[in-house]
């Protein structure tokens, strides 16, 4: 299988249905998307439009799909260490210390190397000193940092983030957005982030994929050609935000904060 030049993740004619006892739900219909190595992709869309399903297909958690989903010339059919994932809930094991949660995905035959990798990733997400804490002793933002560290220990090529900051308060969310950018720049990981916050999508993404629901399709792909660090109050930033906003609300007046 040959992917287009520069693309690391190729999605072509992807369809995904869920069959329930009564009916069939088309969760994704004819999705086409090429994602480049090291790119930061934001995906926005209303709840239920198939954003999580798309990430789960890429993660290899849903293998009963039609179409091509190819990472580095290999069709995705199951999870692999080349892809990491962070969920909206941190999903840390409550009975393990932070360092053991971060080490959860590391092979045990690494010896002393393991301790070094764990510490490095705890430092990377800015939690130095919390190695021996338990998840319930952390705030929501800190727990999500641990989840990011855990997902990164095997140095995945692609990190999938499913509304990772959706449950955080507004100030913590902005802080986490800056953190994830810093990590992205340090690790050069390809990032695919699902959000329902248009501001977040524009602030983070090289491109913003706008999805529409029933069935879940890609409605539009908006490039964000803005230099980083981005200024959320700049004219260009607001213009892009407006353009995406109008994909969801055709002609209603545009409120100050854009969230779907």
């Amino acid at each position: 299988m040959q992917s287009p030049a520069g693309s690391t993740l190729v999605i072509q004619n992807l369809n995904k249905k869920f069959k329930t006892r009564e009916n069939e739900i088309i969760a994704l219909q004819d999705i086409n998307l090429n994602i480049h190595q090291g790119e930061f992709i934001s995906i926005v869309g209303r709840s239920g439009c198939g954003k999580s399903t798309l990430l789960r297909v890429i993660a290899g958690l849903e293998n009963d799909y039609e179409g091509l989903v190819v990472l580095g010339n290999k069709q995705i059919s199951r999870p692999g260490l080349d892809r990491g994932m962070v969920f909206q809930e941190h999903r840390l094991l409550p009975w393990l210390k932070i360092k053991d949660n971060v080490a959860f995905g590391l092979a045990d035959n690494l010896g002393g190397e393991k301790i070094r990798i764990v510490q490095e990733h705890i430092n990377l997400v800015g939690l130095t000193g919390f190695e021996k804490a338990y998840p319930h002793q952390l705030s929501g933002g800190m727990a999500q940092r641990v989840a990011i560290a855990r997902a990164l220990v095997n140095r995945p090529q692609v990190l999938l983030l499913d509304e990772p900051f959706g449950a955080l308060d507004a100030l913590t969310r902005i802080q986490m957005q800056q953190e994830i950018l810093r990590i992205w720049e340090a690790e050069k990981t390809t990032m695919i982030l699902v959000t329902h916050d248009i501001d977040e999508a524009v602030y983070l993404g090289d491109r913003v994929v706008v999805m529409s629901s029933r069935p879940g399709t890609v409605k539009k792909i908006v490039p964000v050609a803005l230099a980083r660090p981005r200024d959320r109050s700049s004219y260009d930033f607001i213009q892009i935000r407006k353009a995406i906003y109008s994909e969801f609300f055709a002609d209603a007046e545009k409120p100050f904060a854009y969230a779907i």
């Binding site: 958690l61 692999g80 990491g84 994932m85 094991l93 959860f104 045990d108 319930h136 997902a151 095997n154």
Partner: protein
């Protein structure tokens, strides 16, 4: 509220302790008064003072410590064995569908048989001594742990399983770091139920066939119409059971302390 609080004379701690004590003290006082008024026959229910006297007598003669100790030993042995076998079998069967199917029918049929119904067979097989008691206790205490362990394994959080799949965590590590810790609260619940059943079983077995133990003490006293001794035996079982349960509760808090703040999410 704050205005009312200002005028309270008793400290909250004293208030709490007295709330615990009000009911038992009231029962004892009324019981004593009714007995002194001649409204309850001593043979039916002797007054608390008489029960206390019998308790003191049995304690100082060494009779009560001897019998309760025998019962505690039997409970500990039967319960310990049941806990061990229940946890090991529960984990094995919980993790393997094949093992589950192989054993399911036998277990489902054995489970509803009350342990007491095993007493005749147990005596035939193991005689009237320790072994038959331990066998009965084992049978009674086994199922609550066993059933709870399996339930716990079946309820393993699928979200953690997904995380493990994504990280390609090997199966044995998944069992050790995800499944077993998740089952721990279920094991503790099962153990506490089992301990209660173990006490029921030991007393029942001792009532029917024994020459030692609190159950024997109670039965012997009944035949001699020593109602006060019967009551001493009963209360001793209650207190001992409560103490052992508290010990398990403390163990539970230590082992699954993470659970305290986890239930919310």
């Amino acid at each position: 509220m704050s205005v009312i609080r200002k005028y309270q004379f008793v400290s909250p701690a004293v208030k709490r302790v007295s709330q615990y004590l009000i009911l038992p003290v009231a029962i004892l006082v009324i019981w004593q008064l009714l007995s002194q008024a001649g409204l309850i026959k001593p043979l039916i229910l002797p007054p608390p003072t008489k029960v206390a006297g019998a308790f003191w007598e049995l304690l100082s003669s060494g009779q009560l410590p001897k019998h309760i100790w025998i019962s505690i030993l039997r409970v500990s042995e039967g319960f310990g064995l049941a806990a061990l076998v229940g946890i090991v079998m529960g984990i094995g069967i919980g993790l393997s569908r094949t093992l589950d199917r192989l054993t399911d029918l036998v277990i489902q049929v054995l489970r509803p048989i009350p342990p007491i119904a095993w007493i005749p067979l147990a005596i035939l097989w193991f005689g009237i001594d320790e072994l038959s008691k331990i066998y009965i206790i084992f049978l009674g205490a086994f199922f609550p742990v066993f059933v709870n362990v399996i339930e716990g394994i079946r309820n393993t959080d699928q979200r953690f399983i997904e995380v493990a799949r994504i990280l390609e965590v090997p199966r044995w590590k998944l069992i050790r770091q995800v499944v077993i810790p998740g089952v721990l609260p279920y094991i503790m619940t099962g153990l506490r139920v089992s301990l209660g059943v173990a006490w029921m079983c030991v007393v029942a077995a001792e009532l029917i066939a024994a020459n030692q133990g609190v159950g024997y003490l109670i039965n012997d006293a009944r035949q001699l119409s020593q109602t006060d001794v019967v009551l001493v035996g009963m209360i001793t079982i209650g207190v001992t059971g409560k103490v052992m349960d508290s010990m398990l509760k403390r163990l539970e808090n230590r082992l699954v302390g993470w659970k305290i703040s986890y239930s919310g999410d």
